[in-house]
Symmetry: C2
Subunit: 416 residues, 2 copies
């Protein structure tokens, strides 16, 4: 079997499993999630030893420390995964929810939520994403095909084996969760082109992955996670608040997509605010890359290029630009942003409302950190990613994002 | 300017117009619709004369009679367009609707409907689609780029000139509605690849267009209108009802996407039902293409090939197949269907519910004709097409299909 044939076979199995899974009731699906949680805790030693193999190989291959940290499993993290599953059980199952109405034709029309079918995920070497993705898909009656980062392959194989065992234990088809074991680049490329077999592909990862998906995918895609987020410090801003929010948005977790990458500062407060910002950022060793006017006020800043304003650093680096008007700031953001999250700090209610209205991003904040763009913080209980596209779902993707609708129409011989 | 540069310039103009249009209030948008209705009626003679040019050219080029009919404008049809605009004014504007909640973090989160931005439409030579599409987009605050069939170019130019006049009369940017005047194949191809400039492309047309869009588009797409619809006559069916529904679903308007293309008949009623079906279909000169068992009962039927079961005839032709079980029928439909509309005629409530649950299409009917899949019949008041995809919108697309959501988050210095 070629790699393509292998992946095709796996897609066919998943599709068959999805048809049956779509009909499973909430209790059955929750039973699987609880069983996975149980098995994860019960088999934690073998999971940790599979993970140890991955970690050793990764270290040998000189994988960066931050990635090693994301890859590593320990008892605490396994307990965290199990707890996340138990929390997911408590969330409402969107499948089957909907509404009905009757038309003058006599027809009764019901619009109900149904699973998408087969979801494919391509993601990096993060074992918790394996568990989360499988669980969110199962809860919504979707089969899922997982293609995780190569550094996590032993861990992912061990986790998916447990998930399949849980499915069987609860009388469901183990093909509902499939792992692509080939970690060659080609396996991801093939998966992106399984048109007809995959209902949606959700890539989670860096710019390179998203770009490759946009260029090569022939299956429907939900783009996630590209976050070139902005903070605007307005003329009327409370500058102490602005400093706190800037530090939080940049430094609380620079590697995530809702971290701020560019700070725009209104010219009339630049002389006062930029030294405050610089002082605060120095505590976290943040590199500031500024426009010419920024560099006058912060001489230690390096010079920002056009490219910098397009860049999601995911690091202790931030671009800074002085702007003359709110309009200039809005135009800058709508040009350079990836449409994820943007914030304004202002005491002026009109400016706040204008910013909320005119900024063309999934989440727009007034006097709050962009770091809140997150399914948990928004009250969705769980998320499978943060969509930066406009179709289907925008912003944090909770359970309903993994569903579609279907119209059920009941008549008594009605013709038109 | 090359054609690509021309289309790029037009996209940039539309994008700029869309930012301003997105902020227009309902009254202003309705004012434009009413003004378009007024101008259409006022300028009907010049519209009819522009249409006359198209009709003459089309006749010279030997265009098929059904297409000529769709292309033709007369006073009645212009009045119909104006009435459709006035009806659209009465529909609720989805923009700005939504809900708000407060989180333990103190943040107030609002989820509101906003326009998609720039919608592109590629469609056939139907002047009413020009008016409808522009109106639906304007009502939802979207700019629209229209690329209609070449046979309608003079009519479309005249209509779009009136729409631009109406926009100016009501103080809005006329670039909010743009027509691509080049009717070369290349212009459609270029439009499909205007990534970043177009928020969604909605192709309306035949299989060739949809296929070309699926293969070439790099902009987000909503697939519409492919309708290989099925009718299943179950074991327990009221056969008189089944005959009425079959005739209605096939013959009331064979050219549309919700017409039935294959009729599946349970083996236990085939001997009784097929002659009834054949008699009724003969009144409309429908060609029956049957499986071997059908041909035994209807000797005049031609033989159906595998290809027939995949075909959307849009004509007075119907495929017929005898099936042994409900499971076989469901499997056939889920294999060959385009996921548009399917119906069962049955007196057995369990079979009805199973059909509703297991058929994987946008609209699933019990004891009613598939011809009801339509925005008006569903109560949506207007539609821009019927989606056969699962992401974003499924089935008849009303005004909300032309919107996305945005989260507005208000805090008082909240950090995470």
């Amino acid at each position: 079997m070629t790699l393509r044939e292998e992946i095709e076979a796996l897609c066919i199995n998943a599709k068959e499993a999805s048809a049956r899974l779509a009909l499973a009731d909430t209790e059955t699906k929750n039973g699987v999630l609880l069983r996975i949680a149980e098995l994860l805790e019960q088999e934690r030693e073998s999971l940790i030893s599979a993970n140890q193999q991955d970690l050793e190989a990764a270290e040998e291959n000189g994988v960066a420390k931050t990635m090693l940290d994301r890859l590593a499993l320990n008892e605490n993290r396994i307990r965290g995964m199990a707890e996340a599953l138990r929390a997911l059980v408590k969330l409402e199952d969107p499948i089957g929810t909907g509404e009905s109405w009757t038309r003058p034709s006599g027809l009764t029309i019901s619009r109900v939520r149904v699973p998408l079918g087969v979801v494919a995920m391509i993601y990096e070497a993060r074992p918790n994403v394996t568990v989360d993705s499988a669980a969110l898909c199962l809860k919504t009656g979707n089969a899922v095909i997982l293609r995780g980062g190569k550094e996590a392959i032993s861990t992912n194989s061990a986790i998916v084996a447990l998930i399949k065992r849980a499915l069987e234990d609860r009388g469901l088809d183990p093909h509902a969760v499939e792992l692509i074991e080939s970690t060659e680049r080609e396996s991801a490329q093939i998966l992106m082109t399984m048109r007809g077999a995959i209902d949606v592909l959700i890539p989670r990862g860096g710019k390179g992955l998203i770009q490759s998906v946009v260029e090569n995918a022939t299956v429907p895609v939900i783009e996630t996670g590209a976050g070139n987020c902005h903070l605007l410090v307005d003329e009327s801003a409370d500058l102490a608040m602005a400093t706190r929010i800037a530090v939080n948005a940049k430094c609380s977790r620079p590697s995530v997509c809702n971290a701020v990458e560019t700070i725009l500062v209104h010219a009339s407060v630049a002389a006062k605010f930029l030294p405050m910002l610089n002082d605060a950022m120095q505590d976290f060793d943040v590199e500031l890359r500024g426009c010419a006017r920024t560099k006058v006020l912060i001489p230690t800043a390096t010079e920002a290029t056009e490219e910098d304003y397009y860049t999601e650093y995911n690091d202790y680096i931030v671009a800074v630009k002085v702007v003359d008007t709110l309009s200039d700031a809005i135009a800058h953001i709508n040009k350079y942003s990836t449409g994820h999250s943007e914030a304004i700090v202002t005491e002026n209610a009109d400016n706040a409302e204008r910013f909320l209205r005119e900024i063309n991003s999934a989440a727009v904040y007034v006097n709050a950190s962009t770091r809140f763009t997150d399914g948990g913080e928004f009250g969705f209980g769980a998320e499978i990613g943060i969509s930066t596209q406009k179709l289907h779902v925008r912003g944090p993707m909770g359970l309903p994002a993994l569903t579609t609708e279907k119209y059920l129409v009941r008549g008594n011989g009605a013709i038109r």
